[in-house]
Every structure is written in C-alpha cells, then in structure tokens.
C-alpha cells in the first residue's frame, strides 16, 4: 500500500469572517505514516483537523481523507477514522470492559466482533485481570492506552490523536508510542496534533503551522538540519519567533 495517500489537502482554506484560520495549506500524508501536525495555540491546527474529520466545511481548496471528499462525503470519512483526545474521556463509572463494549455498540460492530476484539485489546494491554475495574480507578497511562485502543476498535484507516500523551511518566509515554508504531505497522495512518515538541521527534514526518500556513514540513532530522537546531523545540522557537523578544499575547 506504500505510496498511497491517506490525507490530501490542496490550497485548503477556512475563513471566519475576515480572519483566515487556515490559509491555503497543501500536504499529503501517506498510508501507514505517523504524521505530526504541530503548531502553537491559535496557529490553525485545530481548524484544519476539524475539516479533515468532517466537522467543518472548508471555505476553499480541496481535501480528501481516506479517499473521500471533505465537502460531500463527510459521513463516509467519519466511518473511516478514529479519534482520540486527551479530553475525550472514557466513561469513568463504567468498567474497562464496559467502555469497550459501549464504543463497539456505537460503532455498530456485531456482538461477536465486540467480544473478540475486547479480549484482543485486554490481552494486548495486559489488562485482563483489571477488566472489571471502573475506569476512574485506573492510572492515567492506562486510560490513554485504553482510549487509543477504543479509537481503533472499528479498524479505522486513519486515526487522529489530539495531544495524546500529556502528564504521564517517560516509560508510560514510550509504551503509548509503541502502540502507535504497532498501529502504523499494521497499515493505519496516524495523524498526531500536539504542541509538545518532544512528541514530534517520534513522528515519521511533521508539519508546523504558523499563522494559518504550513511554515515547515519534513522529517524531524530534515527540519533540525534546515533550522540548524538540536531539537524540535529549537526548530519551533526559530520558526515561530525568528527574532526573539518580548512575548505577544
């Protein structure tokens, strides 16, 4: 499947009144790629993502997601994607197993599939012994891994992760990235939005949005070379604020 395009945007634009939130962005994300979609708060990444997932119509330009047109086929897009956010919560007063079953039902999976996939998820995450614990009782790192697995329950072709790994210890965070690698190795395309620059280093390729445009795009190594920087943090600082000075609001 390599060489196939999972997400394509050409001159994609969204305005709100006189404000241009997303300004003629063009990018291709390949099938099976882990793509980091970065930018400061207010740079336009949330607006762009809302267009990709079929929640917001573009003002102009074109985009396809999993081969479907964002203008006319948003329902088909929604069925082809998974979505996980730090804020997207599992139901805290349901157990681990009940959460999986609930989302399986929402995605319209047959009971037999839900049962089989529940067991797979529990085994993969090592949560068999804890399956009947309420989600409120499990650590944050477990919740993140469970949210991710639930977002993959209906086998979407593309998964969108919105700041997925904040607040956990460095080992737990790496376990989460291994789940992402595994999904990508299975052919799922992963788009991660984050403003944590160290997360960017885990992506195959990244784009950095600045004021509605794509300010830079490439592999982390390419961008570090291009900006003569040791870390993505440094790349971001040079891109977002070429001349250092007092902060703007």
């Amino acid at each position: 499947m390599s060489g196939d395009v999972a997400i394509r945007a050409q001159e994609l634009t969204r305005t709100f009144g006189s404000f241009t939130a997303v300004d003629h962005i063009t990018l291709d994300v390949q099938v099976g790629e882990i793509f980091g979609f970065l930018g400061a708060n207010g740079a336009g990444k949330t607006t762009a993502m809302r267009m990709f997932i079929g929640l917001l119509a573009p003002s102009s330009g074109m985009a396809t997601v999993a081969g479907y047109d964002v203008y006319t086929q948003s329902e088909a897009i929604k069925r082809s994607i998974g979505y996980m956010s730090q804020r997207f919560s599992l139901y805290e007063d349901l157990t681990i197993r009940e959460n999986i079953r609930l989302y399986g039902g929402i995605y319209g999976l047959p009971d037999r599939d839900i049962r089989a996939r529940s067991e797979q998820i529990l085994a993969r995450l090592g949560m068999e012994q804890s399956a009947d614990l309420q989600v409120r009782a499990i650590p944050l790192g477990w919740r993140q891994k469970l949210s991710f697995s639930v977002a993959l329950l209906h086998r979407p072709r593309i998964i969108f992760l919105d700041e997925p790994t904040g607040g956990v210890d460095p080992i737990t965070r790496r376990q989460f990235w291994e789940l992402i690698y595994q999904a990508a190795a299975d052919g799922t395309t992963v788009l991660v939005t984050t403003h944590y620059m160290d997360e960017a280093e885990y992506c195959d390729r990244i784009s950095i949005m600045v004021a509605g445009r794509i300010g830079a795009m490439g592999t982390p190594a390419e961008l570090k070379r291009q900006f003569d920087a040791d870390s993505m943090d440094e790349v971001f600082v040079r891109l977002a604020r070429p001349t250092t000075g007092a902060g703007a609001a």
């Binding site: 400061a40 080992i171 403003h195 620059m197 280093e201 943090d233 971001f236 977002a240 007092a246 902060g247």
Partner: protein, 313 residues
C-alpha cells in the same frame, strides 16, 4: 546560608491513597529547585502542604523558618504561590487582577514596581485585556506577576509551563532566571524533563516518593551503564528485534533513535556496539549507527523508574 525549606518525613493521605509518602528534603536559600514527575506523582500535594493549604498527616515542614502548620499566619504573607490551574479572575483585566492581589497583601503595583518590572513590562501592552482572553503563555506570566506582587521571600510554581507552547516556555524560564538572580528562592514543578536542566537541583518523584535528589549533572552522571543511540532503518521492527536480543537490559524509543543499554557491565562499549550492530544485521535490520552517548535526565529518570518497579515486584 540558611535553608529556605526543610521537610522531614512528610506524609499526606487522601483516604486510601498515599499522595506523599515519607518525603524529606532541604532547599537552600536562593536555590532554583525543581520537582520532576508525572501527574499523580505527588508534586501538587507536596506544594499545597508547603504553601499552608493542606495539613500533613505525618512529618513536618518549615518554610523560611516557619512551621507550615503552627506558624501559617506568619508564613503566608511571605509566600508566593502559583497553582497549576489558572486561578485569577477571568472577568477582571490584567491590571485589575494585579491591583487586587497587591491590595490583598496591603501594597500596590507602584510600591512593588522594582520587583515586578521584568514581567510587568511584558504585560503592560495588554493591561486592559480581560485575563480570561489572554493566551496561555500570557496567563502564566500574569499569574507569576500576581504571585510576586507582595514581594514574597519564596516562590512556589506548580507546573507553570504545562500546556504552554515552546516559545512561551522558554520566555517563562528566562524570567525565572532573572528573579533567581535577584536572590529569590524558587521552587517549581514540571512534567517536562528538558526543564530539569534549568534548575540548580531537582527531585525526581513517582508515587509520592522521591527517587533521587541532586543537581541535574550529578543525576545524569549517576547513570551507570554505557548508553547507545541506535539509529534504525526501520524503527518499529528494530525495536522488536532488540527486545529479543538476549543481552538487552533496556530499550526505549527516543524520538528518531532507540536508546539501548546492555545487561553486561564488564565489556568495553566498542564490543557492545559491534555485537549489537552485528545482531541487527543478522536480523536483516541494519542500523545506520549505534553511537555511545551521555545519558539525559530522561534516561536517568527511566532508570530510576525501572529500578523502582523491579524493587516493587
């Protein structure tokens, strides 16, 4: 030099949960001291006890020579505390918030101007804006300014840079360095490993306990094995292959590379490199390089976390 904070055997429970477990430490006057740990590691609870907002269940703590339980009224006017959650009045303007906090402590912006100037000049262009309408980075600067306006003898900052973009984080730390240079003791907590190196000393926390406490340099030097940065051709398959390699002690993804340590402690690093690259080549996954590198704070933290789990098991 006197100690700004002395904590002995401090424990705080919430029902069954032990949030802070028998913690002891000392922070010297004028230090920039960092608590590094994940959500739930006990940082916020410890801060609240030190800021006289929670009572400890056991142990004791003195801040600026005052006991946090018995002498809280003497201590409070001398504390600056910036909570992790934005806690200013969103409907008041920048200037109104600042005037309010100054007046609560019986002072004024004008009287304290010398103290807050480095930060106030950055806020001044937005002084009429409602605090709720500020960007994340500016909110944090305003909160810092409000915590400083009564000229405290010590500053507690609970995750001041969480959720703030890279540029604003950097500016925030530059401000802290200026206040430290003025002699202020600053205690800060953060989940960002890279910020540890900005501190004079750090405490690594997990599950309510301190795993290590030292200068960032000493903590990275305590990493006691050769560390290899493997640049893989195919990252995920290489990771899985190294996990099956019998000599692997630890293997972690680390951005574009994989960080590897070997079980054997009696071999020169060159042999470890050669054997690992030979093994990967034999698996059909040649590495582009496997360089010996110095450990970072994050490597050290993971080594402590790993040891913790081994001991607990």
């Amino acid at each position: 030099m006197t100690d700004a904070v002395v904590v002995q055997g401090l424990t705080k429970r919430f029902g069954e949960t032990v949030a802070v477990r028998d913690v002891s430490l000392t922070v010297r006057s004028g230090e920039l001291f960092g608590f590094i740990g994940a959500d739930g590691s006990g940082k916020t609870t410890l801060f609240r006890v030190l800021a006289t907002l929670l009572l400890p269940d056991a142990g004791s703590a003195q801040v600026l020579g005052h006991d946090v339980v018995k002498e809280l009224w003497a201590l409070r006017p001398r504390l600056g505390y910036m909570p992790g959650k934005f806690s200013l009045y969103p409907d008041l303007s920048v200037e109104e918030n600042l005037r309010f906090f100054a007046s609560v402590f019986g002072t004024s912006i004008e009287r304290e101007y010398a103290q807050i100037e480095p930060i106030y000049v950055q806020l001044e262009p937005f002084k009429a804006r409602r605090a709720g309408a500020l960007s994340g980075g500016m909110k944090q600067k305003l909160a810092l300014c409000c915590a400083l306006v009564h000229r405290p003898g010590i500053l507690f900052l609970d995750e001041p840079t969480t959720g703030v973009d890279a540029v604003s984080r950097r500016e925030f730390w530059e401000l802290l360095a200026r206040f430290k240079a003025g002699g202020l003791t600053i205690i800060v907590s953060t989940p960002y490993m890279d910020e540890a190196t900005r501190c004079d000393r750090v405490a690594l926390m997990q599950h309510g306990r301190i795993l290590a406490i030292d200068t960032p340099d000493a903590i990275t030097r305590s990493f006691d094995r050769p560390l290899l940065a493997v640049r893989p051709g195919e990252r995920y398959r290489t990771l899985l292959a190294i996990r099956e390699y019998p000599h692997t002690h630890t293997i972690y993804p680390f951005g574009e590379v994989l960080h590897y340590t070997d079980r054997r402690t009696d071999l020169p690093v060159q042999s470890l490199q050669h054997q690992l690259t030979d093994y990967l080549a034999s698996r059909g996954l040649p590495a582009l390089s496997a360089a010996a590198i110095p450990a970072t704070i994050e490597d050290s933290f993971m080594a402590y976390l790993g040891a913790e789990e081994t001991n607990a098991a």
